[in-house]
Symmetry: C2
Subunit: 406 residues, 2 copies
Amino acid sequence: MLIVQKYGGTSVGSIERIKAVAERVARTKRDGNDVVVVVSAMAGETDKLISYAREISPSPPDREMDLLLSSGERISAALTAIALNELGVKAVSFTGRQVGIITDKAHTKARIERITAERVEEALRKGFIPVIAGFQGITETSEVTTLGRGGSDLTAVAVSAALGADLCEIYTDVEGVFTTDPTIVPEARKLEKISYEEMLELASLGAKVLQTRSVEFAMKYSVPLVVRSSFSDKPGTLVVKEDRDMEKVVVSGVAYDKNQSKITILSVPDRPGIAARLFKSIADENIVVDMIVQNVSSDGKATDISFTVPKPDLQKAVGIVEEIVKELGAKGLSVDDGIAKVSIIGVGMKTHSGVAARMFETLASHGINIMMISTSEIKISCVIESKYTELAVRALHDAFGLSAQG
Amino acid sequence: MLIVQKYGGTSVGSIERIKAVAERVARTKRDGNDVVVVVSAMAGETDKLISYAREISPSPPDREMDLLLSSGERISAALTAIALNELGVKAVSFTGRQVGIITDKAHTKARIERITAERVEEALRKGFIPVIAGFQGITETSEVTTLGRGGSDLTAVAVSAALGADLCEIYTDVEGVFTTDPTIVPEARKLEKISYEEMLELASLGAKVLQTRSVEFAMKYSVPLVVRSSFSDKPGTLVVKEDRDMEKVVVSGVAYDKNQSKITILSVPDRPGIAARLFKSIADENIVVDMIVQNVSSDGKATDISFTVPKPDLQKAVGIVEEIVKELGAKGLSVDDGIAKVSIIGVGMKTHSGVAARMFETLASHGINIMMISTSEIKISCVIESKYTELAVRALHDAFGLSAQG
């Protein structure tokens, strides 16, 4: 098999950990596999560099940040290659440029446009283990770019796709994907298998095991992923295409997100184009709106619009909305930052009815009021008062039988 | 003027220092100059990375070391560019690759083959200050290389030559080149001006203000250098072509080197090819022999050969010499590692007679025995007992009138 193994920051967080990673890679190679390694920066390294930059400037140029931050992964790639050679395993490190990871010009959040990977293939043919510095690429004009937080996951998935790897293993400090946050629900179970779609919903809800874009990329190119711990030999969670087995399970996981705030615009005149005007202004400021609910008023002439934005963007969003309230002649706006979003996710929802009803009943039976609802094919999210978050997560985890063996 | 400014590790050793460097660069720009900046890694950073590698492996592959060590300069280049932008001065960082510093394949001690510097010239044309990561280059096949200890000096000089800069300023933590080590002779004087040849002798004698190869490069391409402190506004020492003024001064400086050991082979049969055989074997092990003295024996049939090698290479050298002693049928060998070399340097020696005699008299008058002598056009070196080093340096500094205004 050709296996791409990606090791996150805590997995290469010290010299001892880097040696342990090398042992694992060497073992995988000895078992008869071809291995490609992708590494993140040593834990804390990227944050240290960011704090250096912020000490100098509140808004350092993105291009310079990319050159700065790409250094961390180069260091861990070189050290990992040194550790492999020390074990007698031929290994050679590659930067994003040497791998031929070509991105667009969006510094600090570049998108991969293509990967040549010629040197990686050549190294594999010669029996070397390529060790790739994650998180980074290069533009057509030879500028260094980075792929945004968690970008090393994306490097690993994209390299897997380019090489046609049989498996992409994402090594992290948790043992896999859980039915919910084990710090809230101790009975939370590790999932053996989950679909790309479910993983995507979980990732976008803030479950930090995988970066959203890397899941999208894996889904698009059908790269089988495994999320597992570099601190143990347990098998982890397989992220693959949806299959019939998965549909038998109605709900795979319960997620929550406390990082949103709600803005409501009161009595907006109900004319076409109003919502477009509002959300375009917000999008222009790069604020990502998550949920939107519009309640048509009883006389059909005015409407209330509520939506959620990430907490750090609240002040900026309010500023924009205040302008629009004036412009549209709405009655005013209200802000609520004591909210949380709880969600249930599962591909089985598509074929099972009554899932939403059971969710609402469960919350109601615990006296939890639902403020907003949004649904997708495989997810139902409810906005509730923040203080009920843990109670709601435990109740839903229980109600959908997630603690029992699935 | 087009000025290349190189800042060493202590000059960019902290965020505060980097800000101070940016202030100085901005000031030079405001004074109407075009400025190109070359930076070393922050002080301690390179040593930290080396210790990481050594923790993993006693002999890490050179190629991997180069990727590892080149990171330090990238970080300080990005941070310096950020600091300049924060001051409202347009600046852009470049890696060795982006500058087009093409080297041979000798990892960890690569030699520069050529510099394209197109992007640097373009940045200058657009009014930007290019900030270049020192110490690094790239091979024709796109491998990252480093230029050896002090390699950022070489980057600065080579970039100066490529751009036809009017001046290359080397900023360090000392105020310039001194007549001798001020810790031994408090009256040591900073030189206003020194020739490339003298600087070269001083550098090769271990005066650490400039890397030897960068002086050779500056001499070859007639790049005017200034060595000065980034911690003060004092003018520093100008390193330029020899001129008539310089010849008036007999001796410009006194240097010493305690890092050598002496090996003597006793009664070697006096046949052609013996010395060649001996020194080829030593050179094959990459040991640099400094001084060689051969005393022909009185009967003309045997000879004693003495030579000095760097202290860290002594054991290895002795091993080689023992073999050769057997092979040649010499009487044996003796080792002396309690030696030091003191040297006087000056282009004026060429036109002044009696300099060597005065040196020997001075040492003799202090009861210092001379064990070996070697001379060049602008340098006389004597090997003496190590315990007399400070006494000899002070006496010579005095005898050649270096404490007085030159």
